[in-house]
Symmetry: C2
Subunit: 139 residues, 2 copies
Amino acid sequence: MKSNKEKLNHAFIEFYEKLSAWELDIVKDTGLSLTLVHAVEILGAFGAMPMKTLADKVGVTTGTLTVQVDKLVGAELVERIPHQTDRRSILVGLSAKGMALFTEHDDLHLQLTTQLTATFSEQEITQLLVFFNRMNSEF
Amino acid sequence: MKSNKEKLNHAFIEFYEKLSAWELDIVKDTGLSLTLVHAVEILGAFGAMPMKTLADKVGVTTGTLTVQVDKLVGAELVERIPHQTDRRSILVGLSAKGMALFTEHDDLHLQLTTQLTATFSEQEITQLLVFFNRMNSEF
DNA sequence: ACATATAGTTTGACAATCAAACTATATGCT
DNA sequence: AGCATATAGTTTGATTGTCAAACTATATGT
């Protein structure tokens, strides 16, 4: 007999798998690659950050990211901003156009969230939010 | 002021981003590509399935998957099993070795789940499991 | 039985990725 | 201060992943 923690583990994995598949579908419609949309999503969620930090979050080397950010700059979705104190470093941040794309994407996420929690009461949503915040802080 | 549902939406995204980054780290250690580990994970979670179904879940075309499954077969992680009634179709399933890799990977997931829910009581884990099952069924 | 649809493979072109070499700047040590 | 070492980002060359389209084989519908 599986423990509830094991069941929860598999529920996490199922949730993650389904979210990944959903994200892939969405990304296909944009015409951009998964990496590019992922970068926009991260920059929208966390704000401007150095190349190295973004590369770690996206999961590629800085060499790869340089090429990808070149494309995003070409598409006018992000901007390279010189770091104020460290002249080696460059901050990558969303442009107005990039922010618009992020907002649009974020809205799709909200629609999904609405769908997933359609049967949840206000109180249950609040409870779930507390749970998620606790888990996210343990990562 | 953001509603709790909007906050929950961003908590989902944060959770997803962190899980993705964790998965990338794990995958790097295996020497296999993300797609390959992803395929093993899906086959372990859902059991053997046709190429087309697996391709959709992984998020690649069947052409790409053919090449990747060739590699997995070469590494003796999966097997191609003829479909019993449809002779066009081929089921892809984990071999004993592939199942062992999946179990190992699944155990790492369980360790992460344990970490994330370290501060949760038994009752809270049960409650969270109920929430996740409800969400997963709404996908 | 014939047209059409579907499952999977193969092929050729293209895009993404990495490791390593390189430039520029920062940091630490003596 | 000066020199060695570390770090941030870019560039390059080779490799791998990916797709679209053509192809084979089998199934389905009329």
